[in-house]
Every structure is written in C-alpha cells, then in structure tokens.
C-alpha cells in the first residue's frame, strides 16, 4: 500500500504529539541536577573539598568545628562530632564567623595614622613591627596597658607571658563579665574552674536567670543536654522551672516560668533552702553544714518573711522547694545571667548553687560536675571596678600606651564613663583587631590579626565536659588578607624587646603543649611517636582524657544569715520601670554585630532582626498609649537616654522593660554602623559589692513616648498566617489526656 502525502503528514503529526505528550508525563530525573550541579559533565571539573578540624571560642563557649574547604576557600562551618562539648552541632555565631574571614570591610593590611586625628595609611608588616617595637621600647612598660577580649588556651598564655615579660599591665574586657559567677562557684564549691551542668541526666532543673539555652556561657553544649533531658531514649521526660525577670528562650522552653522581683533570686533560693531544711526533705548532712549545725540558721528566709519581698506566694515557694527536693531523680539548680547582675550578685548565685548540696547533686551525674582546673592560662573580662581604675589612670597619664585586641571598650563601657575622652588622653593606641570598631578606629597603629579560621591556638573550655579537654585550633585556610596572628606578633616583638619566649611562633607554642599531652600517653589520642600524635590530634580537633576528672564533694560553707538586698539605681517614683537588658542570641554583646548572618537572624522571641527594640507589656503599653513600632525614649537616673521602637511583648512583666544588648555601633563595618541603640550607655554604673562587676540588671528607667514611629524589621507578620479552624500549626501533647490539647 502506498503512502499518500496526507497519510504521511497525519502519522508524522500523531507521532510528534505523542512524543511530546509521553515525554511530558514524567520529568527526566536528571533535571534535579539543575538545583545542584554536583554531577557535572566530564568536561567540567569541580573542586575537591577537604574538611579540617579546628576550634573556636563562640561567646564564652567552646565549639569544635569541621570546616569545609574548597580550592583554598572555607565554604561551610559544621560541628565536630568528636568534640565532647558540641558533638557535631554548632551555634549560629559559629556559622556566621565564616563571614568574618571574607568580610568586605575587613582591614586588609597594617595601617598607621598619618597624624593625630588624620587618615590611615597602609604599610607593610616590616614597618608595622618596627613601629610597634619602637613604641614599646620608648615607653615606660608600667605605663602600657594591654587590653584583650576574653581569651583562652595558648594565646592567653602567650599574651600573659608577653605582658609579664615586658612589664605591662593587663586587663580582660567583656561587657558582661563572669566574675560574679566565678566568685560564687569558688565560694560554694571551692572550684577555680566553672563546673559542667549535667542537663542530659538531670530530672528536675531549676534555673535562676541563666538563659542557658539562649546565650549563657555555652548554649550549644547545654542544648545538647537539653534534647536528651526532654526526649532522650530510656529516660523519663525532665521538668524545667525557669526563674527570670525576662521571658527568654529558656523561659519559653521551661515547663514553668516564674517571674520574681529582679535581684531577689537569692532570697528565693534561701527561702527554698529554709523550707527544705525545716521540713527535713533534703540531705541532712548538707543541711547541717550549710547552717553551721543550727537548723534555724536560715530563719530570716522563712517563706512568710520572704514571699512579699520577691513577689511570690508563700505556697508557691514551698511548692517549688518540695518539688525540687522531692523529685524522684536528680534535681539541679543553675544560676547566672540576670540573677547575678545585681549589687548582691554573689549573694544570689552562692545561695542558688547551695541548693545542689541539699539534694545531693554536687559532683554527681545529673548534677553539677566539677571540671579539672585548666593547666593553661585564661584571660577573663575584668570587673567594671578595674576598668574604672584603668580609665582614671589613662586620664591621669599613668597609662600612656594602650594595646588592644578585640576589646571594644568605647561600645562596651557606658557613655557615662567617658571612655573616648580617656582614650584622647593617651599618647599611643595600637590595635590588633581585624575590624575598625569604635575603639580601633581611634588607634594610631593597626596590626590586623587573623580570624579564628586562619590561626594556630588551643582552647581549654571554660565549662568543660567534666574531664580534661584541650582543643587544637589550626589554620584551615591561608590568610585571606595581609594579616598576622596576634600571638605571632607578640612572640616576635617579645624577642625584639629582649624577653624572648621559648617558641618561634604560635605553631611552635601549640606543638609544645601537644608534646606535653603526648607524654602523658593517655587520653583520646595515644600514638607511639609525637608526629603521629600531632597529626591524629589535629584530625580529631584536640585531645581529651575522660579519666582526668575531679572527685569528691567539698564540705559546704555556712550560708549567710542576713539577707543582702539588691540596690536598684533610680527612684521608683521617677523611674517606675525595671530595665532588664539581655544579650542578643546572635550578635552577642555586639562583638558579632558586623556579621550579616548574625544580624539577619530573627530574635526567637520577638522575631526582630537588624535592630534594637524595647519589650513592653501590652497593659503597660496601653497605659502609656503606646503601640507597636512607636518610638520611645528610655531614660535612667544616670541622665543618659536612648530612643528605641516598642515591641509589645505579651510575656513581658508589667513593671519591666527589656532591651537587647549589641547594637548602637557608630562604626564596626557597614553591617553594624548606625543601627539601633546601645543600651549599655544608660545603665547605672553600680557594681556587685563583692567583685566589682557591673550590676547590669539593676537599673530603673522611665519611658516617654515620642511622635515618631518606625517599621521594626521582623519576621512576624511578613505573611498572613494560615490558621485553619480546628487545625493548629503547633499541636501539644498533654500526657494522660486522651484528647490532646492544642494551640
């Protein structure tokens, strides 16, 4: 049969349509590669990636990291599964740290100021080191102050050796230092190292002011335990009670959140102790020790005397005490943060940590676990008292030269202290920071340092895992800019000044420490030769020895018979609101404000990003005719004030306002400058009576409406939530109820 032209066209048409239709029924699976060009054609060659283990100080925490490196560039920061503290997980700050290395505003080379107040000029390292040597040679060493951010491990050791060898004064700087916590732990447990908190194995946790799941000390480590505390296999779900004057992430996670009068946390703890002791439901030996043998020793803290002072009912205190002491498993008390940020900070925290004795939770699983004292140095943030003295010495001319490393005192100390004026009185300021923050921008000479991904070091974690741990920091990439590690600068300059250190570089110094660890022939890495030990330790990210622990339970001290009250700054009739500042979960106290990822991640409670806000209770806002986004001024008795937009927060107590710390930079890169307000500027400069630390939660303020409104940048409200009737987004499970409640 012949094929006509018409038939041919018909068949051709049907075939073409069929081809299109049938091919369209299923998308070729390789289309997925459009999203992810992992499997490239043969003629395209992608880079090979390598993972390097290192460690970084993230806030006060210590995080073992694995960094993905491709073609000489760090691509991704991940947690090191081997490292005992974060076991494969990491904090948002650790992730964001990657952006410090590739930050567009990073200082690219050493710089010198052409004239006082003039512009900077780029110079080479030989000239920079020569200038530094000359400055230090010409100066009276006693008139030199070396100010450093909190530092641990080998770099702290090198820094201290340098200061001692040269004869300079040294101060650590941290806007929210941990001196009160350290003093309290020393008081109550006799320990120099901060202990670990075994959250994973605790059954009942009472935390006082410590936002341990958000910002306190090492949240990643504590969150590792928290996941197990909630839903760990083979255990019952733990119960968390959080006492705080602000509704934090930890408060949100808690089964019970209790608000008490700010500064009265110690009274609550001792009132609970009194109940436990008088009802005989705690450890009797501990009770006798804590009371000096007189079980009526704590009678000043009877619930009837304390309840009205702290804003809780007597029954409420007794109920907490009975639940804490009567829990079937292990109870644990944790204190810190705002509870220690008052003039009676040490009193508060000492009382809180004493509770652990009464329930037998000292140095046992599920309780407080002691850490071996670090064999290496640590530079802690010095108390405000010391910084006031240092500023006075700058003004008097006693201090003439300031060496700075990651110590942004212009932003981190209150404007009331007039830091900039004190800096103007100095002859020379030398900075080793990588960014032009408010303090470094006043320097005469800048020798920019490496970022954590580029340098050698070690870390002995502040809160260790309960056994000796030394993490190794190695450069995972070559330096991206013309920078030099701070430790290497100090080692080199020390030699020039005639105070040579026993090493030629930070790498040598770290290797020397590694040799000591190798010689122990124990711990997580043991190898016959040092070179094998060195290689294996670097691969694993460090060395730790689960057998090197602290044993025994100390004898508790006698608790104070007389209550110590918090002194709040500001007359309540003029300044009716209690100001509770809090550390940002992403930008910290401002040290991470230059990192765009840290800026852009919304605050968990308010969902606000990139900004400062004041959290106000809805009824308080209504009373002041305030609405969301209205700008108000907050004024303290110090005379300082800031302007901030209102976030109406239903969880804020009526007589409290809360403001995040960290913004309000005048400089510190394009991502931080000119953004928000610095709440530290209006805090009263009251100190904890024992340590001299800033009582940062002890200020009263008044709030005044302005005629301005701004749009707060926040995630909340970007899209209309699609709530379906009877179909909640978050469903809750109420144990014992057949028909589970829902939100």
């Amino acid at each position: 049969m012949g094929l006509t032209r018409r038939q041919f066209l018909k068949w051709a048409g049907v075939t073409s349509v069929g081809a299109v239709v049938f091919n369209g029924c299923r998308v070729p699976d390789h289309e997925i590669q459009i999203q992810s060009p992992v499997e490239l054609p043969e003629d395209l060659v992608t880079g090979r990636d390598n993972y390097y283990a290192t460690v970084a100080q993230v806030g006060s925490g210590s995080e073992g990291l694995l960094v993905r490196v491709m073609e000489g560039r760090a691509k991704k920061v991940e947690g090191n599964p081997d490292y005992p503290l974060n076991t494969g997980k990491h904090h948002i700050r650790a992730e964001a740290m990657l952006q410090a290395t590739y930050h567009p505003d990073r200082i690219k080379s050493p710089m010198v100021r052409i004239a006082k107040g003039g512009p900077f000029r780029a110079i080479g390292w030989p000239e920079a080191l020569e200038r530094l040597t000359k400055i230090l040679s010409n100066a009276d060493s006693a008139s030199v102050l070396l100010a450093s951010g909190p530092t641990r491990g080998k770099l702290a050791d090198v820094t201290k050796r340098f200061a001692t060898g040269y004869g300079a004064q040294m101060l650590g700087f941290d806007p929210i230092d941990q001196a009160v916590l350290r003093a309290s732990i020393k008081n109550i447990y006799g320990q120099n190292a901060l202990p670990d908190f075994d959250i994973a194995r605790a059954d009942f946790i009472m935390s006082f002011g410590a936002d341990f799941l958000g910002t306190w000390i090492d949240p990643t480590h504590f969150m590792r335990g928290y996941g197990e505390f909630r839903q760990g296999e083979g255990r019952e779900r733990g119960h968390l009670v959080h006492i705080d004057s602000r509704y934090s992430v930890t408060a949100a996670a808690a089964d019970e959140w209790k608000y008490i009068t700010p500064g009265s946390e110690g009274l609550l703890a001792l009132s609970m102790a009194h109940t436990i002791i008088s009802e005989g439901i705690g450890d009797r030996a501990a009770a006798l020790a804590l009371t000096g043998g007189n079980l009526n020793h704590l009678s000043n803290y009877a619930v009837s005397k304390v309840a009205s002072q702290i804003g809780m009912s007597a029954e409420g205190i007794q109920d907490l005490a009975r639940k804490f002491a009567g829990t079937r498993g292990r109870a644990l008390a944790i204190g810190g943060g705002s509870a220690g940020a008052h003039t009676n900070g040490v009193f508060n925290l000492t009382a809180i940590y004493a509770l652990n004795y009464l329930v037998g939770s000292v140095n046992v699983p599920g309780g407080v676990i002691f850490n071996p004292p670090g064999s290496q140095s640590r530079i802690d943030g010095a108390p405000l008292r010391d910084w006031k003295a240092a500023l006075a010495a700058m003004r008097s001319g006693e201090i003439k030269v300031l060496l700075l490393r990651d110590a942004n005192i212009v932003h981190g100390l209150s404007a009331e202290l007039k830091v900039t004026e004190a800096l103007d009185d100095l002859e020379t300021i030398v900075s080793f920071s990588s960014f032009l923050d408010e303090t470094t921008s006043r320097a005469d000479l800048i020798l920019p340092g490496h970022t954590p991904l580029e340098e050698w070091g070690t870390d002995v974690p502040d809160v260790g895992p309960g056994y000796r741990t030394v993490a190794f920091q190695q450069p995972v990439i070559n330096r991206f800019r013309d920078t030099m590690a701070f430790g290497d600068v100090l080692i080199q300059i020390a030699g020039e000044l005639g105070n040579s250190m026993p090493w030629n570089s930070m790498r040598d110094a770290v290797r020397a420490d590694a040799r000591d660890l190798h010689a122990t022939n124990r711990g997580s890495v043991t190898q016959p030769t040092f070179e094998e030990f060195w290689k294996r330790s670097l691969e694993r990210g460090g060395w730790w020895d689960q057998g090197d622990t602290v044993s025994g339970v100390p004898t508790p001290p006698v608790l104070p018979r007389t209550p110590v009250q918090a002194q709040l700054a500001g007359d309540s009739s003029v300044f009716p609101l209690h100001l509770v500042p809090f550390e940002s979960h992403s930008i910290g106290t401002g040290q991470y404000a230059h990192l765009p990822w840290a800026q852009a991640v919304p605050d968990p409670i308010t969902t606000v990003a990139w900004s400062t806000w004041v959290e106000v209770n809805p009824k308080t806002a209504e009373g002041l005719k305030l609405k969301q986004d209205d700008v108000v001024t907050l004024e303290s008795a110090s005379g300082g004030f800031i302007s901030v937009p209102v976030y109406v927060n239903p969880a804020t107590p009526p007589d409290v306002v809360s403001v995040p710390i960290g913004q309000g930079h005048e400089q510190f890169t394009t991502y931080a400058a000119g953004r928000g307000s610095n709440i530290l500027d209006i805090l009263a400069q009251n100190e904890d009576s024992d340590t001299g630390s800033l009582a940062w939660a002890g200020t009263r303020v008044r709030m005044t409406k302005t005629n301005t409104r701004v749009g707060l940048p926040k995630l909340e409200g970007i899209q209309e939530p699609r709530q379906l009737p009877g179909e909640p987004v978050i469903v809750v499970f109420k144990p014992g109820e057949a028909d589970h409640g829902s939100h």
Binding site: G24, R26, V27, D29, H30, I32, Q33, I34, Q35, S36, P37, V38, E39, L40, V45, R73, K75, V77, E78, G79, K89, H90, H91, I92, E95, A96, Q99, Y102, G214, M223, Y226, G227, R230, R237, Y247, A252, D255, F480, A600, V601, P602, P604, T607, A609, W610, S611, T652, P713, I718, P721, L724, E727, V729, V732, F733, K734, P735, G736, H740, H743
Partner: protein, 244 residues
C-alpha cells in the same frame, strides 16, 4: 577530576529512597541554628533590613513563634517550617512551565531554569514555604568566596525553597544502593546543625531508619493534615505538662 557515572533509573531510585524529615517540637528551643546553617549551605541571599520591612525575606527554613495565654500565664511555642515536600503538593499542578514537580525520591523539586516567576506555586502553598527573588541576590565580592559551589545561585524572577539539601543527597547516594547509604550517614544542613537533635532525616523506604521508626510515635502529626497534602515532613507534638 569529576567522573561520569551511569544514572540509576527513576524506578530504581524510587524503590530505593524516599526522603523524609521528623521534627520533635518538644526538643526544639527555637534557637535558629537550622536557619543560618541552611542559608550558608544553600547560598540563600543575605536578608537585609529592608527585606524584613518589605516582607521579602527569603528563608528556606524559618522558626515561627506562637503565643498562647496572657501574662503571667503565657507560653511561646516554636515550630521550624520548611517545604513539607508534600506527596500531593498544591504547588505542583499550578506551575504552567513544570518548574516544580515531584521527583522519584519523594522530594518536591524546583527547576530554576524553567521557572518564569508566575508565583502561582507560592500562592498555592499553604505552608508559605516558597520565596521569590524580587531582586538579583547580591553578595559583596569578598563574601562570594564562601558560596557553596554545589548549589546554584538563583537569579531575579525565580522562585526558590527548601530542596532538603538535594546536593548532599546527590553526593551521598549517587550510584549507591540503599545498603550503601546507612541511616544517619549524611544530613541536610539544618538537621546537622540542630543542637538539641530535634530534627531527624532519613529514608522512609528503610524500615530500620529513625524516621521510619518515628512514624509510629504517638506524638506524630502533620501540619494542616486535613488539607490532604500528605507532607513528607512530620512533626512530633510538644509535650505540655501545664496543669498536669
């Protein structure tokens, strides 16, 4: 040097893998480690302040916060929300150019070079899991060094959303049988970062995987289950002992 391997057939992979995620709301603290890890891994543009104010922030995973009650008896609850990779995905049939479809491994896939930016898929997604690139994403030159070479940078006019880190899936499973891919051998960036281990990822076709075992958990639920979208992402209810 990259090597070319013979692709497995669609049928092979569909029988081998069905990817799923389980999120335990009782472990989640709302810390947002998942959010930043996702941004880093997937080259999600930096959300400048204006992006939040104008309602244009792009997040492949976000943490939503819901209030319950009034002070002092108040509770904030958190839920990480990402593409639910629905089996009956409302976003798929409305795409006029087949830019979004369901692949053989249970993933809802977005093909960037097909997308013409109608945004029908975004409108039809009940979970608001999709984000549109209203502008060309811009990174300062230095910050481009950190971009993940395994992930395409999307351009202006293109819809984007969670891919469950398909690049990691590809790297870890190409030319492999399920036996060669042990449970937990790799994770999407969000799961990997989550400090409380609230997120679990795995292969539902592997009966021994954690995600398979969690299907029987009494706290299991899907968000908006009655819509019939059959999400592959599953949640475990938050335990509330209040008043218990």
């Amino acid at each position: 040097m990259a090597t070319q391997t013979k692709p497995q057939s669609a049928t092979d992979r569909s029988e081998a893998f069905k990817w799923s995620m389980v999120i335990d709301l009782d472990r989640c603290t709302g810390c947002e480690a998942c959010v930043v890890a996702c941004q880093s891994e997937n080259n999600v543009p930096i959300n400048e302040e204006s992006a939040f104010i104008e309602g244009r922030a792009i997040q492949w995973i976000r943490v939503e916060r819901y209030w319950e009650g009034e002070w002092p008896d108040i509770k904030a609850r958190f839920i990480p929300v990402l593409c639910q990779h629905c089996e009956n995905a409302p976003c798929e049939p409305v795409c006029p150019v087949y830019a979004t479809y369901h692949n053989t491994e249970g993933l809802n896939v977005q093909v960037y070079n097909r997308c013409v930016g109608t945004r029908y898929c975004g409108n039809n997604c009940p979970y608001h899991a999709r984000s549109f690139n209203y502008w060309e994403p811009v990174w300062p030159e230095d910050l481009r060094n950190q971009l993940n070479p395994d992930v395409t940078v999307r351009s202006r006019g293109v819809m984007e959303k969670c891919s469950m880190c398909v690049q990691r899936i590809r790297r870890s499973t190409r030319s492999k049988t399920p036996n060669d891919v042990p449970d937990g051998s790799f994770d999407p960036a969000c799961v990997q970062a989550c400090p409380t281990s609230a997120m679990t990822f795995g292969n539902l076709n592997n009966p021994d995987s954690k995600v398979s075992k969690l299907q029987d958990d009494e706290r299991k639920y899907h968000v908006f289950e009655h819509l019939g979208t059959a999400p592959t992402v599953m949640y475990l209810k938050q335990v509330d002992t209040h008043g218990a």
